[in-house]
Amino acid sequence: MRTFTALEVVMASYDSERVGHIHDELHSHLPSQSALRVKSLESLLVEKGLLKADAVDKWLDSFAEKIGPKNGARVIARSWVDAGFEATLRKDGLQAFQQLGLADVDAYELKAVFNTDEVHNLVVCTLCSCYPLRLIGMSPSWYKSNAYRARAVRDPRGVLAEFGVKLNEDIEIRVWDSTSERRYIVVPQRPAGTEGWSEDQLAKLITRDSMIGTHRDLRSGDGGA
């Protein structure tokens, strides 16, 4: 019996062993070059009328335009200057993004975890690569690396030191492993010397890595570099 022919009705098997076999076939027969793999799959889907020829380009343009770390930076900067907004961010991170028009209603539940003088937060996904990408854009590739996923829960202080974040032993590290559909964002501390700054100025100081927790001390002199 031929089996992998396209079915009349599209329906997942939810059969783990079956996909194991399919991966085995793909492992043996797909071209080894990654770019070629993408191209052959995209071409096939377009050819079969399952994907519009410009769908991928349009999707990328719209994502790049709307979503990125700067959205998270805007939310955090607002929370630094507006106590009511900070309370919202603490209670319901997604709502804070929505209030600034930076999130769809069906994005994820978002938990904002706040750094203090005594506490540092770090986000990881040990089981795959969960990250609030619909709110703050793509995660960096190190976030998805085996080394980060393996080590962040076991040796967070050592990991942070590699990123240049040297923490005294009396500072508590809280590691958030994203194991459900909830997502995490770290809220760094507002740097000293930024009194009276505008939200836009403040937002420029906030880096992507500070929202993951691998950057701690934002500095007014950095100017958002």
């Binding site: 329906m11 098997s13 076999h21 399919i22 991966h23 993408v38 190190w142 990123f163 809280r174 492993d177």
Partner: protein, 225 residues
Amino acid sequence: MDTVHDIGGRQGFGPIRWQKDRGEKPFHEEWQARGWALCMCMFAGWRGKPEIWTLDWFRHVRERIEPIDYLTRNYYDQWVQSLAATLIDNGTIALEELVPAARGANMTRHPDPSIPSAGPSAGASATECGKDPSDAPVFAMGDRVRTKMSIAASHTRLAAYVRGRIGVIEECHGPRPLADASARGVIKLEPLYTVAFDAGDLWPEAQGRRERVFVDAWESYLERT
């Protein structure tokens, strides 16, 4: 399922190579962006249709990549291969259309007999309420809980490094779709919690460290101590 994806706490990994991501550029090569956008375009058409796809099923499909590929191939390459496997499994495309050289070994559907409602019929009746979502959660904030030791052979979000460990309920989130069920096309609501573990209770070398790890866990992952 205990495959290599469950990597939290595994030792022997070297430094985290974060330097090349310093510029916050989301992708390093064009094919990565295209591969990822291709996945997003296909997912968009499948959201809310558990007979075809769930995100947890896709996660499981990625977990079934050959371990050597999982550990060595580029992240986005894995997504593309998992998308291909998903499309072949659900009958959108045929294996031979994508890789004409493939022989298509006997690939009939063999749902896991230990999963009562797996298989094509599972998706058709999308919702299964093992527990009335209005039922009060079993655990409350501050309760000490032990995570279960044994897990199903299929998809789960109870990571190996927190199995059989004692933690404290940090937060109760109310009913959320259980990932283990979603990965077989069944939407089953179950109370979700955030559980805090002292690093010293997870790792032999971490006694006395001011470090805690927080994971989200569904009620069926937990028992009273």
